[in-house]
Amino acid sequence: MKNFRKTGRGRIRRARLISFTFDDRQYQGFVGDTLASALLANGVHLIGRSFKYHRPRGFLGAGSEEANALVTFDRGPGRVTSNVRATTLELFDGLVAYSQNNYPNLKFDLGAINDIFSMMFPAGFYNKTFMWPKSFWDKVYEPVIRKLAGLGPAPTEADADHYASLYGHCEVLVVGAGPAGIAAALAASEKGDRVILADEQNELGGSLLSNPEARIDGQLAWQWLDKSLETLWLRKNVTLLSRTTVIGYYHDNFLGLVERLTDHQGDINPASPRECLHRIRAGKVILAAGAIERPLVFAGNDRPGVMLASAAQTYLNRYGVAVGDNVAVFTSHDSAYETAFDLSDAGVKISSIIDLRADVSEILLQQAHERGIAVLTGTVVCGTKGRLRITGVRVAKFQNQKVSNGTEHIACDCLLMTGGWTPSVHLFSHSKGSLKWQDDIGAAVPDMANENTLSVGACNGTFGLSAGLEEGSIAGGGGNPFRTEETEFGTGQTWQTLPTNRDPSRIKAFVDFQNDVTEKDINLAVLEGFKSIEHVKRYTTTGMATDQGKTSNLNAVQIASKAIQIPVQKIGLTTFRPPFTPTSFGALVGHRADDLFDVTRKTSIDGWADDNGAVFEPVSLWRRARYFPQGNEDMHAAVARECKATRNELGIFDASTLGKIEVVGPDAAKFMNLMYTNPWTMLAIGRCRYGLMLHEDGYIMDDGVIGRLADDRFHVTTTTGGAPRVLRMMEDYLQTEWPDLNVWLTSTTEQWAVIALNGPHARKLLEPFIDGIDLGPEAFPHMAVREGTIFGVETRLFRVSFSGELGFEINVPAHYGRALWEKLFNAGKAYGITPYGTETMHVLRAEKGYIIVGQDTDGTITPDDAGMSWAIGKKKPDFVGKRSLARADIQAPGRKQLVGLLTTDPNIVLEEGAQIVATPGQSVPMTMIGHVTSSYWSTTLNRSIALAVVKSGRAQTGSNIYVPMPEKTHEAKICATVFYDPKGERLNVV
């Protein structure tokens, strides 16, 4: 195999020869190579097949703008990444990569048949063709199209890597470490301001890395670069981030940066994060993102071996690789000459420079002449030859806007092209800065900034080393201390589609290489009536590939502008959106996966439940014990046992997750009157009341038992899931509606562990351990609260019941929760104590007809709907939701009301959510009059029970309704909501 390395060139470490495989074939390269440069050094140009037509493709560029060279990077199971640009993939010993989108192989791809029948695949082809039958889209068309369309396969295994993240702050963030960026960082960091200099490449230096001959302050470019980076490195206020892509520029100078940490290393250290997401807030952002060279649009401009001239210069000067033996150059800009001269000086034959322009600078012509390079001015390339690699070009004279008929063949193994330069305004656009058209460079440049940001160097349309250094340094707050010697950057012309002497309908001139969009597609879109550039983009998919049109957008805009006949200044640009280059999901997720996906809140008693075999369920962010199976019990058996034990003997339940809010201040009762429907003024100290809270719309929002500890102090409880929104709504009203009230709210949910004891033996178990509270039934009645101690620890003891049995809720400071639970559990064994979970709690409360907000209510249930008009303080002048309760539709008859249901067959447990109809024989769709909200098997009653909301349900007590289910329609009778102990006698068991 021929070696294309050039001695004496490049920054690769020639001392370290390394091996890698591409498509199962082994090659050699050096540390410092990219996959692209190493393949080119081995003479490999064919790297992939195109997206739609499966045309052979080679390397277009040498950096992150690459459109063609997408490969699959394989580091083993769980570490396979598709669509990696070979031009940015750093080489290491043992690297494995594969080409994509070809079958059976890269050189002979059956999919290339699409290219032959390409006239059948114009823009909008899929939309036009696969419309009927409609049902075919999901099952047939889309899967097949996706399989054929050409990107690498999505990974099937879980990502084996993990990803870090950090927030950061600086006074100045410099994006891009080319000469302008380095000059900006040097100036900005002089006085001690924190400066971050980030660059996507593995080495800092930008264009200087490809341009070693330039001189700054008398030093060769690379010497100056080393010295400048050393200066920056030694400054403690400077952070240099290489391999770090600024992916997005968001509001208020907040930017996302992804640093690649391990992809360039041969040995995988599984403990090391693969990437780190830096979220940076910067005082000032200096954008020095450079410019991207623009391809020329001519027939056959996509053949392997056709590449951007600047890429060839980079391969030569940075990697020591000649892109060919006999190179032709096609340009409309002076900058291509420098590449031609560099190649020529390195011993590569330049077959000719083909320049579209009739007039070219005398100096350039002279320099070409000195090197013996033929320059064909006023000449255009009308076609290329070669299947898997270019073998030659057909050129014709282009004079007075006319292309002559005669063509000349020029042999070459590589064709370099330059159609001008496009400033990288992506990040500036992310930040909502506006752009303006600059005619002399034929591109958009930053205009009005929307953030504190400056663009410097080529991304600002300021080309040339000297000008970039000066602009960078001034942006960083310095002067212009640099003297440079450089090749003049020169000028050029930008074109739309190039003129040709061939039938334009029979050629393929590519605009977007990655999505296979040709100049014809854009013209067709315009012909079919798409006049907005955003519509043209979506119809043709130009600029919508993974490269977001970095090399194609401006050509597309100019072609569309010509076709629509609107000046390019007015047609606008399509929107740039983050991320700047494709970004791994892992970097965005960071450590927030698995157990860190979100908080799992656990009570202080959770550990005991875990040790004792509890099955858990999530309730908002909390996990709660659902039931405690013994032996081989299923949920049904466990819940039956737990229910029975609690009703007959004693149950113990962890109620710590209940929300708690301490309402304190002289206006506490006044505030409670306003927030809850119930009256609070007359509630005695030491007594409790069930509180109902409504939204402004009059619907039930939350409920809970509230105890009055002092004139000015209430202990409010809320539902587990409702705690944050209740506190938020309370604070909202307090701060915005009633700031005059002297009352403060403190969340105490986590201050207290709460153990509920329910059952006839509850008092007997508790009594010996309590000090300072008389537990006697008269001294401590139902719905009361006392303060005292238990096992010597302060407690707020509530006598309340959510089960209908004699019940106590013991509040102790949370860190004592588990110890208290264990003491009570051990002592309770004498009374047959049984731990129960949320499922049993639900059954017990349903037997008593107690609602659960969010289960028996759904955001459209008023207190009256729930049969709870008794909870409304009728004499109160106001409370949240009062006004809405007077609305006509809330007062109207026929609203759904909460009722009990008893199925005719007692063994049928209805499905929660099942719809209810009045008569069984209706034709579908039946008229639905309500639905089941809660439904359980009641061991206590030895039959099923259910709660439901039914239109005018209370008036229908005693009548039958029907619940149609897929297998059978069930009959049930409407009854009262309290199924068990309707007189509440069990609360007062002594």
Binding site: N742, T746, A819
Partner: protein, 203 residues
């Protein structure tokens, strides 16, 4: 059973276990769990500050976002009418009396939240880095000086953050969020031990 009623017979468990990588004393630092503390949320009208200070003898910071650190006692001013007091257990009884007096004399709210929160000390040269793994604030010394405190977030948790010294932060978090927070601290320290982000390539 009467003897059960005198003295405290329940053991304390703050419910969080720190991974060894956090507690091992290394040069880059780590995380400690603070022992049980007394904590009060103190709310009163801003205009009463001088009078409350006088009556309570508490070193109440005058500026929002600042704190006083004296012996084993911290007082943080978190908002116009909100102070957080954290003290070691030795002052528990004295504080109870102080606040009983305050409650009788002033329009205020005193709520015991001793067990609601846990406290962590994040210390060492790596402290800022551990915190900035999940907290978006600028923690450099000139922006977030010693004594500054604020309510903020760390990933999905709400925290209160206080800088006690250049390389020492006090972090308060609600009890049930503490295991998640400490796990995140762990990832930060592990990552840092593995790789120095932004480090120079050894070319």
């Amino acid at each position: 059973m009467l003897s059960e009623k005198t003295g405290i017979h329940l053991s304390i468990d703050q419910g969080v276990r720190l991974a060894p990588i956090l507690t091992n004393e290394t040069e880059i630092g780590g995380v400690r769990l603070i022992d049980e503390q007394v904590r009060y949320s103190l709310r009163f009208k801003p205009e009463d500050i001088a009078a409350v200070r006088k009556a309570s003898q508490l070193d109440l910071p005058a500026n929002i976002g600042m704190s006083s650190i004296k012996g084993g006692q911290l007082v943080l001013r978190l908002g116009p009418d909100e102070w957080l007091l954290i003290s070691d257990l030795s002052r528990a009884l004295a504080l109870k009396q102080t606040f009983a007096t305050l409650s009788s004399k002033f329009t205020c709210s005193v709520v015991d939240i001793s067990h609601r929160n846990l406290g962590f000390i994040v210390h060492g040269e790596n402290a800022e880095n551990i915190l900035n793994t999940g907290c978006p604030l600028d923690l450099s010394l000139h922006v977030f000086p010693v004594g500054k405190c604020t309510r903020t977030v760390y990933e999905n948790t709400e925290i209160i953050l206080l800088r006690k010294a250049e390389h020492e932060f006090h972090v308060e978090v609600w009890r049930s969020f503490a295991p998640y927070l400490s796990r995140f601290f762990e990832t930060s320290v592990t990552d840092k031990a593995q790789i120095r982000m932004g480090a120079r390539d050894d070319k």
